[in-house]
């Protein structure tokens, strides 16, 4: 059905004519057309909750950057909200929760999110699938349970997430109860995304890097692994645990298909540690500040190092808002023209 299924074939370990490419945060402020659509909504939450606007910005980078996949525009924090913990997105600051989780009562008060609670995302997926008209696959996503947990405890972003980690060290059993609830909510949500049309699912563990190896296995990977199991064999799953350089071998033992890499990981090491998985990444977003010559040479070097098989090209993190759209396009084209 799909005219361009490079992403799905690469994720499944099948041969592809060329390396597929998409970009984290491609539906974002780097595109002038995104900023125009964003201006139609009163605030970020209203924007996320509008299936029409979400669909519009999801499709934009497929048209204007020529990427090989769309990723549904949404936010990882829709899960805490659906569980009973609403948030605001404060300009230039990031997410902020009026209430946070502190104790057993707080955990017990939270409900397990059901697909219905997130109908606006499911509608956005359905609309987008129609709009894409099978040009490229649509990626669905969710935050990893640990990352969601971290925001629910901390109440905002943090350099250290020391409150969230304090919770793990002082109330490990309660932490597991909450992580279990988040995991169940996320499974309900992602299974519904697949039913609505998502062709591949990515889990974002944005704050994996603040955990030690041991803590990551106990409080993060265990739950991501459950989610991978719950989505198999429906769709391929990508696990992106940012800065969890220590965990590649163990991530490769889960039932994910693809492992996302940040730019501190060497492609060669990753291939050795996860030979059975597709790899995704991992250019430094700041490379796209460089001149054209450097963007071309560094991107080609990265492509040669990863090799064409079992590889999905991307950055090692989301696009920064102040990057030049033309340079982003150049990056995409270098990948598409690579032989």
């Amino acid at each position: 059905m799909l005219k361009n299924d490079l992403l799905l074939r690469a994720a499944k370990g099948q041969e592809t004519e060329r390396v597929p490419v998409w970009l984290m945060r491609q539906a974002g402020r780097v595109l002038p057309e995104y900023r125009a659509t964003r201006a139609k909504a009163k605030n970020f939450i209203e924007f996320v909750k509008s299936p029409e606007l979400a669909c519009e910005v999801t499709v934009q980078p497929v048209d204007s950057l020529g990427v090989d996949a769309a990723i549904i525009f949404s936010d990882i924090l829709v899960i805490p909200e659906a569980m009973g913990l609403p948030y605001q997105m404060i300009e230039a600051k990031g997410p902020w929760f009026e209430n946070t989780v502190k104790n057993k009562t707080d955990v017990e008060k939270l409900r397990i999110a059901q697909a219905d609670d997130l109908n606006y995302v499911l509608e956005a997926i359905q609309l987008t699938k129609k709009e894409l008209n099978n040009r490229v696959p649509l990626i669905g996503f969710a935050g990893a349970p640990w990352t969601i947990f971290a925001y629910m405890i901390e109440g905002s972003g943090s350099k250290t997430f020391s409150k969230a980690k304090q919770f793990l060290y002082t109330q490990p059993e309660l932490a597991h109860q909450l992580l279990e609830k988040i995991t169940q909510s996320t499974i309900n949500y992602l299974q519904a995304q697949v039913k609505a049309g998502a062709d591949l699912i990515q889990l974002f563990d944005s704050w994996a890097g603040v955990l030690s190896e041991k803590m990551f296995y106990e409080f993060s990977l265990k739950y991501m692994s459950k989610i991978c199991d719950a989505l198999q064999p429906l769709v391929p799953v990508t696990v992106f645990a940012k800065d969890a350089h220590y965990a590649l071998e163990k991530i490769a033992e889960t039932h994910c298909n693809t492992i996302g890499l940040d730019w501190t990981i060497s492609p060669k090491n990753a291939r050795q540690l996860a030979p059975n998985k597709t790899l995704q990444g991992n250019a430094d977003p700041c490379l796209l500040y460089a001149d054209e010559k450097k963007i071309i040479s560094e991107t080609q070097e990265m492509l040669r190092t990863f090799g064409k098989h079992r590889y999905i090209c991307n950055l090692g993190h989301g696009l920064y808002p102040d990057l030049d759209k033309e340079k982003v396009k150049l990056f995409v084209n270098v990948v598409k023209e690579f032989k």
Copy 2:
């Protein structure tokens, strides 16, 4: 001369009766007596510039925590200031520079700092040496050139340091000129610290982790290596490049004596990658939020994994201000009693 020279012997690779222990940010807000001394100064800069107050807080943890070394109380940003780029420390926000470095003229305007420019630190070291009366060694320190550069370009802390990295990608030659100036300033400064009495020097590369492996070698390690060379054979040198997990083998090729590790690095891997160096670290500061039983068992496990030889116990990052002093003391005592 020194009554307790465990730290220096461990750094030099000599046998020690027991593992030495000190803590990054031990002269800090975790101690009530620090907060009392801090209140005597109008602001942070005045505090840093007072040799008497700096001496007072440097000695406090030796008395009250029983650590095996003092580290001179100061700030890594005294170097930009001495080069002509003053900063403020804004409560709950961190450092802030009114002027930042943007172009060639800005780089040329900066002077190479001389020992005299930092007399207040040298005086603090002399005072502290007297006050310590040879009880334990005194550690001197500086920021790594890349980390200093990052603040000079960015003008404040940052999650991504994307402006500083943009500078590396777009003006690499100018970046090297500035890094060279910072390196010369730092060498002048550290050689003077040694002359004033510092027994060991630690370089803090706090923002190593935002760089890719290749960029780290080109823009950070090269300059830290120069500083190591300039301090040999005067005193042992410790390189702590936070989150530069990818670089252990190359750091081990410099003339440093000790490699500092954050808590995401496994002691076993570090031993394999840097068999010729002393290792320092690497408990998660958040462990000290846990109950006593857990602090004891996890600390003992870490000690067993590192082994008693060529090891200096520490955290993997600075103490967090809201930790309980008694638990910090417990950690120190567990190390000191370890057989």
